[in-house]
């Protein structure tokens, strides 16, 4: 499984992560399925609904925001492929909390933001037995899709 994403969309994810620093920023990835692979077509930043004091290390996307995103995706003939979020001043690897709360099938993009500058982004997916998150291939493409 891999996620193909245009560099413009990736730039949007990074910009959102930088704007929300030092809080965690989050949003949803809309796109299409291509067999086992996924193609991102749009990103939808959403508000971090976690309690304000904890937003530097936690994020929460409200189920109602997921529903709106699913409805928006359906209108565009797309699917909600997964989630992106940032780790301020921490590596782009899933924490135990990420794995405990991860939704199966979704792809998770995690971007490190260091001192307000977005750095590396890596893609992850929950293992089918929920034991841990495993890394997936992230293909950033130059041309717009």
């Amino acid at each position: 499984m891999s996620l193909r994403i245009a560099s413009q969309l990736m730039a949007e994810i990074r910009r959102h992560a930088e704007q929300r620093y030092p809080e965690e920023g989050a949003g949803l990835i809309l796109g299409s399925l291509d067999g086992e692979d996924r193609n991102a077509h749009a990103v939808l930043p959403v508000n971090n609904r976690f309690e304000a004091k904890q937003r530097g290390r936690r994020y929460l996307i409200d189920p109602k925001d997921i529903l709106s995103a699913e409805e928006e995706a359906e209108r565009q003939g797309l699917t909600v492929l997964g989630v992106f979020h940032s780790h301020p001043d921490h590596p782009p690897t899933p924490s135990k909390f990420d794995a405990d709360w991860a939704v199966p099938w979704y792809i998770y993009l995690i971007t490190t933001v260091r001192q307000g500058i977005a750095e590396q982004t890596r893609a992850w997916r929950l293992q089918e037995d929920h034991a841990q998150m495993v890394e997936e291939q992230l293909a950033i493409e130059q041309e717009s899709r």
């Binding site: 620093y21 030092p22 965690e24 989050a26 976690f50 904890q54 530097g56 290390r57 936690r58 994020y59 929460l60 996307i61 409200d62 189920p63 109602k64 997921i66 529903l67 699913e70 995706a73 699917t79 909600v80 989630v83 979020h85 780790h87 301020p88 001043d89 921490h90 899933p94 924490s95 135990k96 909390f97 990420d98 405990d100 709360w101 991860a102 939704v103 199966p104 099938w105 979704y106 998770y108 260091r114 001192q115 307000g116 037995d129 929920h130």
Partner: protein, 249 residues
């Protein structure tokens, strides 16, 4: 008959079905029926001891069942039961910051700076190893080398503590780097290279001055950058929003 709406993330386990009809009388019954019909879905709805996974949210006709009767909420004809994930996560908990007394650090730096300048002006290079030893002992103890003077000033109420949430390790590392430079200077003086000895001494003078007057600790920055590239033994990240080496607060 009522309907269960399956979210995108779980449709892979319901053969792509978006809506699944159910005859169950309650929310709990409907979920069980769904899990029985699609056994591959069950482990994604229920975790250990059959409890619902933390991300599973249930709505009956847009109303959260937690505000109704939970899984015992009844389902009437043509009701819609929506399963919606809430997505949460976040970074690993970092080791909490500690209250670091920057007043103690600054006092020690001021004494160190005065001492080094006095050594240079009076050309008493034999005093350099004494300061090097004090700094390296301070590094080993995890305390600045002139805390005794600081305590005396505190007792006399000449100075007050300045507690800032910070990591003590980078400051300890910076002290060790300074001590090592002065140990190098000692070797240079001892081996007949006074020019090299003074160059190393002046590097320490410059770095202490930059930290004391400019609020930038080069040794701390080296510590944080080492941590960033994964050098073993360097584990702390700067306090959130603080540039590596800058004084927080």
């Amino acid at each position: 008959m009522s309907y269960i709406r399956v979210p995108t993330a779980l449709r892979a386990y319901t053969d792509g079905q978006i809506e699944v009809p159910t005859e169950a009388a309650t929310v709990g019954g409907a979920l069980q029926e769904l899990a029985d019909r699609y056994p591959g879905l069950a482990p994604h709805l229920f975790g250990a001891e059959g409890k619902l996974r933390p991300y599973v949210n249930l709505f009956v006709n847009d109303q959260d069942v937690r505000a109704l009767a939970g899984v015992h909420t009844p389902l009437a004809e043509s009701d819609q039961l929506m399963i919606l994930p809430s997505v949460a996560g976040g970074r690993r908990m970092s080791t909490p910051l500690k209250a670091v007394d920057h007043s103690a650090l600054k006092t020690s730096m001021a004494v160190r700076l005065g001492f080094l300048l006095a050594i240079f002006i009076t050309d008493q290079s034999w005093l350099v190893p004494i300061l090097a030893a004090l700094m390296l002992i301070g590094t080993a103890r995890g305390k600045p080398e002139f805390t005794f003077g600081y305590r005396a000033l505190r007792r006399a109420n000449w100075i007050s503590p300045e507690l800032i949430q910070d990591n003590p390790e980078p400051h300890r590392f910076a002290l060790g780097v300074g001590g090592t430079f002065l140990a190098g200077a000692t070797l240079a003086f001892g081996s007949g290279s006074p020019a090299l000895g003074w160059v190393l001494t002046w590097i320490v003078i410059a770095l202490v001055g930059l930290n004391l007057f400019g609020g930038f600790c080069v040794g701390c920055a080296v510590y944080y950058w080492s941590s960033r590239v994964g050098v073993p033994g360097f584990s702390k990240a700067p306090p959130p929003g603080v540039f590596p080496g800058r004084r927080p607060g």
